[in-house]
């Protein structure tokens, strides 16, 4: 049985090494897709090359850095608590930190609403922001599974693919519109989640990682080979874009168009801005939905199960169902992101849904702080923007990226925002806020 956790005890040397080893291990995992593997141009075609020595150096740097930082931090904290104790401070208040997080959250929402207006003449910025939001959506979906429920899902990209192909096929084969296909495709992804989660979640924790990893690969193999359904490696083309209440974003023609209806001059930028707002709305809805759920017993049970499964069972929770609900919700949100991705690109192929993609989404959740909604946004920004920024000075790109990763891993191995926000407040007269 596990020992109780005492927050204020100083760690032993063995614990410090263990902590640094854990950090190095996570760094190793995260580093595989981003540092260990790289694509090089070889006679016009891209091939994957490995850089294991870089990866080893990366992990070693994280190990040493963490050890040093943790030691100095602990020394500082110990001095500070000793001072506070002497001064008679008793309770640790978290209210201040949570107000800051919610302020940052609102500023971020306001900023993202205004972004296309501020950058109205810069399509590249709006387009990149759309990419960031797709990863935010994927990250929030996986965050429920990994960050909140503590289940290791290594194949989240599979549900992304299911959503994307579901929309692609529903629209090109059956003529469904974006808005009707969206909920159906989300349900199809959720159904895949049930089929996968139902058997594997009854088994011990680590099986889910293997099953999801396998599923991610199987989906890709199936999509590559079931040519009659999926078009094989060529993928699905001419996927219809979402419309604005039936108004298409096209040059003036026979059908009513957005520009024509509002008496504007046609501009391809309209569609880019519209797509941006579509994913923004989907993200905001997701955030409200997940945040609400976390306040209900079912949502809080996800975190409880992650913390102590046996205690949960003894409290009468059906642990399998709790995990399944988190897993299926994650699958569904992954599907929604997939639908949007297909509609935005207009073209999808199995190449968009590789293990690399799963690893990046996982990195977003881990770097974001396992469970923090805002952390996922920050991590998505970092992981999407860093490579973009680095593009201008390609030689230093790896260096930039690696340094940023090392700093994050050492400074915040629990993620950028590892402080969990309480979701239930107590008002002294017994009411609830």
């Amino acid at each position: 049985m596990s020992a109780p956790v005492y927050a204020h005890e100083a760690p032993t040397a063995a614990e410090r090494v263990k902590d640094a080893l854990a950090v190095a291990f996570v760094a190793l995992l995260l580093g595989i897709p981003m540092i260990g593997l790289t694509t090089v141009d070889q006679g016009g075609s891209l091939v994957v090359a490995t850089r294991w020595s870089w990866l080893a150096a990366f992990a070693a740097a994280c190990f040493v850095g963490r050890l040093v930082l943790r030691f100095s931090l602990d020394t500082l904290t110990r001095r500070r608590t000793a001072r506070q104790r002497a001064a008679g401070a008793k309770t640790v208040k978290i209210a201040g930190a949570s107000r800051l997080v919610s302020t940052i959250g609102w500023v971020a929402v306001a900023f993202s609403l205004l972004l296309p207006i501020v950058f109205s003449d810069n399509r590249y910025v709006v387009d990149t922001a759309t990419t960031v939001l797709i990863y935010v959506m994927l990250g929030w979906g996986l965050n429920v599974v990994v960050g909140l429920a503590g289940l290791l899902d290594l194949g989240h990209v599979a549900f992304y693919a299911v959503g994307a192909y579901a929309y692609a096929l529903l629209s090109t084969q059956f003529g469904w519109g974006f808005w009707t296909a969206l909920p159906v495709a989300a349900l199809i992804s959720a159904a895949f989640g049930v089929v996968l989660g139902w058997p594997s979640l009854r088994l011990r924790g680590d099986y889910l990682a293997i099953v999801t990893l396998g599923f991610g690969e199987i989906i890709r193999v199936v999509l590559n080979n079931w040519t009659s359904l999926s078009g094989g490696p060529n993928g699905v083309t001419s996927i219809p874009r979402p419309t604005f209440f039936g108004l298409a974003f096209k040059p003036p023609g026979d059908t009513p168009t957005f520009a024509g209806f509002f008496g504007l001059d046609f501009s391809p930028g309209h569609r880019i801005v519209f797509l941006y707002y579509v994913i923004l709305v989907l993200c905001l809805l997701t955030n409200v939905f997940v945040t609400r759920l976390r306040k209900l017993p079912v949502g809080r049970a996800w975190e409880a199960v992650r913390e102590d499964e046996i205690a949960c069972k003894a409290l009468g929770m059906n642990v399998t169902n709790v995990k399944l609900s988190a897993f299926v919700l994650g699958a569904m949100l992954g599907g929604v992101a997939g639908v949007f991705f297909a509609a935005r690109q207009g073209f999808i192929s199995p190449e968009s849904f590789t293990f690399n993609e799963s690893a990046i989404i996982l990195a977003i959740v881990v770097l974001g702080g396992m469970g923090s909604q805002l952390g996922v946004v920050l991590a998505s920004l970092v992981l999407v923007l860093l490579p973009e920024l680095g593009r201008d000075f390609a030689e230093y790109r790896m260096l930039l990226f690696g340094t940023a990763m090392i700093l994050i891993m050492i400074w915040r191995p629990g993620g950028i925002l590892s402080k969990r926000e309480p979701t239930l407040r107590h008002v002294k007269d017994g009411g609830r806020a």
């Binding site: 049985m1 596990s2 020992a3 109780p4 956790v5 005492y6 927050a7 204020h8 309770t91 640790v92 208040k93 978290i94 209210a95 017993p297 809080r300 049970a301 975190e303 409880a304 913390e307 102590d308 046996i310 205690a311 949960c312 069972k313 003894a314 409290l315 009468g316 929770m317 059906n318 642990v319 969990r420 309480p422 979701t423 239930l424 407040r425 107590h426 002294k428 017994g430 009411g431 609830r432």
Partner: protein, 242 residues
């Protein structure tokens, strides 16, 4: 009869941890089970929940055979456990821990029950927004007890609630156990190494050794019995009980 375990065996792989135990608890009783480290006390409690599942024997709770039920279904019948080592959710706040204890209860009762818990343990109200992992050991134990009570159980199981606590908290915990039983009619099965305190708080007691019940009787009888005195009170683990 609230609980009746008859001839219960339990195994961990090839370790035969429970070797045919008979334990019963009447409605309104405090029953204690004492024994040295590794005697199988925790195993006995957990086997009530099917973790591990009894490999032989029968467990009847409130007139129903629960031997083969799923763990979560067993707690739904009205058994609540305060596990060894407390097992509170350290990253969640005190309030959230309490809410998790009430997942089975009617949500309409949440406020009333919270008030009852805060009356029982005023310190929890003071700490309600604090992360449970930052509480002291004694406070964590109170939280674990309060969390278990939030589901309004018929039978409360406590696994070594005094383990590792300062004397002041030990006193408070045993006081609470008496109070729960006397004022609220709670039926309690209490596991302890602290034989002195436990036997004084209990109506009846059992002594467990190597997975077998070797003695049973009223709390007074066991306190006076030479075997118990020799093994658990004088120089034994219970000696800390003063």
């Amino acid at each position: 009869m609230m609980l009746q375990m008859s001839g219960v065996h339990a195994h961990y792989g090839h370790i035969h941890a429970l070797q045919g135990v008979d334990v019963s608890v009447q409605v309104g009783e405090v029953v204690t089970l004492i024994g040295a480290n590794g005697a199988g006390k925790s195993t006995l409690l957990m086997s009530l929940f099917g973790q591990p599942r009894a490999s032989a024997g029968r467990i009847i709770f409130d007139g129903e055979d629960i031997t083969r039920l799923q763990t979560h279904d067993i707690s739904r019948r009205g058994i609540s456990l305060v596990p060894e080592g407390r097992r509170i959710f350290p990253r969640m706040t005190v309030m959230e821990n309490l809410q998790m204890g009430a997942v089975l209860a009617d949500p309409a009762n949440l406020h009333v029950d919270l008030k009852r818990m805060f009356a029982l343990f005023p310190i929890l109200e003071e700490r309600c927004e604090q992360r449970a992992g930052t509480l002291s050991g004694g406070e964590q134990q109170m939280l674990a007890i309060a969390r278990a009570l939030m589901s309004r159980p018929k039978l409360l199981l406590l696994d070594e609630p005094s383990l590792g606590l300062a004397p002041l908290y030990i006193k408070k915990i045993f006081q609470t156990i008496r109070e729960l039983n006397r004022d609220h009619g709670m039926t309690i099965l209490l596991i302890e190494q602290n034989a002195h305190h436990a036997l004084r708080a209990a109506h009846r007691g059992y002594v467990l050794q190597h997975g077998q019940i070797i003695l049973s009787g009223t709390g007074k009888e066991l306190l006076a019995s030479p075997e118990v005195r020799a093994a658990y009170l004088e120089g034994g683990h219970g000696a800390a009980g003063k």
